[in-house]
């Protein structure tokens, strides 16, 4: 009698384990189905060739003013507020001769 009861308990444990495994598999399946849907979307994405993308980038760099590259986009002192400020607002602070005043 004890042996038969033990056998049934063992069987029900196996059933529980199997159902848990089944549930895990279902979750895994859903995840991988989602992933596949995303991969299909990625595959259908419209792509341009890298050469075309490169030419668009090159044209953009040629057409956009960039004053940090003075050889391509020179700037006059009037346009350059930083150079203007160095020459007009703070000529003293740039000079090495002038220090703090000394009271004797």
């Amino acid at each position: 009698m004890k042996f038969i009861l033990g056998f049934f308990i063992k069987m029900s444990e196996l059933d529980v384990n199997e159902s848990i495994q089944e549930r895990i598999n279902i979750i895994k399946l859903r995840r991988i189905e989602e992933l596949n849907a995303r991969l299909r979307k990625t595959l259908l994405r419209e792509r341009i060739s890298a050469s075309n993308a490169s030419y668009l980038i090159i044209n953009y760099t040629k057409e956009t003013p960039d004053y940090l590259v003075p050889s391509l986009w020179p700037m006059t002192t009037e346009q350059n507020k930083y150079r203007r400020s160095r020459q007009t607002i703070r000529p003293i602070s740039n000079s090495n001769d002038v220090g703090c005043c000394t009271i004797t």
Binding site: E33, S49, A50, T61, Y67, N80, Y82, S85
Partner: protein, 388 residues
């Protein structure tokens, strides 16, 4: 039954991955440097910028800086617990904003200058409202504190004047509405701490898109109108420390802990260029070797390049800290952990100079929206402005 379906789906996923790989290989027909072979290089392959001013005022590490959209103000956040607003031309401090949390990691200026944001190790993003008074000038007050992230906030940037996006160590990004003071949505896909993000507000192209880089080595492109990330790019097995959108808005650069900067194009869906300081130094070392042999001069090459060469031996951790593009995108500024700020010619893929002078590590480099100046912030508590 389920098991069989699982195996079939796994096989489908494998074949889809292979197909995507082959499509990407087909579109990746040329790299940017080969396409730009006809573009003339910079004179002498060099670019030199003048140190316009050194902004002194902070008493601890300056961790982040941001320009206002009209380039008239520079915002700096430091671990001394203060954010300062500077006039970059005169070098004067214009305002000081005391922080509730001293451990700031990032700060941002909104496009129309209505808000300033700061965030850091307190897991919260604080929004400071800017009050503009014609008589008394600007004043600041805390308008909202966004709590919701469960780890530090590593990056924050405004998408528009009322929307801010934050990236956190809890592996998520979040979009917040400043007017309604609520979270709009989460962005969940990364499998590592998010370390950086970049929006594209300045060029006004693709204003709904931003890119994020994380410790899982993936750079992901997000559209605020879509649920999953719209594109992802695997860089390397190392952290992505910094990411920056190209001014045109369809390309971005990601700087990794392995010292390599990779340029990706979203339209072509592939990598189009690579900038490696290590390779550049090696190439230069072999070049100067040839030069030395032919000229009999041990100090061959330009002074700029030979200084790069000499510090090659002392380069220990080459990780990229921060990067930014010049206004046209021709120049890429990149800061290395053990080295200064290197300027790259993006089209020619060569180092054209460097910005030195800081006493400690450079934490951030930002170019001004008007394209006239560069600001570098350092752990030596100063900020340097560079101009022509």
């Amino acid at each position: 039954m389920t098991f069989d379906a699982l195996v079939t789906e796994k096989n489908t996923a494998r074949s889809l991955y292979k197909e995507i790989e082959s499509v990407r290989k087909r579109t990746n027909d040329i790299d940017l440097t080969s396409a730009a072979i006809d573009v003339s290089p910079l004179p002498d392959h060099r670019l030199s910028l003048r140190n316009h001013d050194t902004l002194k005022g902070h008493i601890d590490k300056v961790v982040d800086i941001d320009w206002s959209s009209d380039s008239s103000r520079l915002l700096s956040g430091s671990q001394d617990g203060l954010m300062l607003l500077w006039d970059p031309v005169s070098g004067y401090k214009k305002h000081v904003i005391p922080l509730q949390n001293q451990w700031i990691l990032t700060c941002a200026y909104s496009p129309k200058r209505n808000y300033i944001a700061s965030a850091g190790l307190d897991n919260a993003c604080t929004i400071h409202r800017v009050h503009k008074d014609p008589e008394y000038g600007e004043s600041f007050s805390t308008s909202s504190v966004f709590k919701g992230h469960t780890a530090y906030i590593s990056a924050c940037q405004f998408l528009s004047d009322d929307c801010i996006v934050t990236g956190s160590g809890d592996m998520t990004c979040a979009l917040w509405d400043c007017k309604r003071a609520t979270k709009s949505r989460d962005f969940v896909d990364h499998l590592g701490d998010i370390l950086c993000l970049s929006t594209n507000v300045e060029s006004q192209m693709n204003p709904n898109i931003f890119v994020s880089g994380a410790a899982d080595g993936y750079a992901r492109v997000w559209d605020v109108r879509q649920q999953p990330s719209s594109q992802s790019f695997y860089t390397s097995g190392t952290d992505i420390n910094c990411i920056r959108m190209f001014p045109m808005g369809h390309t971005f650069a990601a700087g990794s802990d392995d010292g390599v900067i990779r340029l990706y194009d979203m339209r072509a869906d592939c990598q189009i260029s690579t900038f490696s300081l290590h390779d550049e130094m090696k190439a230069f070392a072999s070049q100067s070797q040839v030069y030395r042999e032919t000229q009999g001069n041990s100090f061959g090459g330009s002074p700029e390049r030979s200084s790069i060469n000499t510090s090659y031996s002392s380069l220990y951790s080459p990780g990229v800290n921060s990067l930014d593009f010049s206004r046209s995108g021709r120049i890429l500024f990149s800061c290395y952990a053990d080295y200064g700020c290197v300027m790259w010619d993006v089209l020619k893929c060569e180092a054209v100079g460097m910005l030195g002078g800081h006493q400690s590590k450079i934490s951030q480099v930002r170019s001004s929206p008007d394209g006239m100046a560069i600001a570098t912030a350092s752990w030596d508590s100063t900020i340097k402005i560079w101009a022509v």
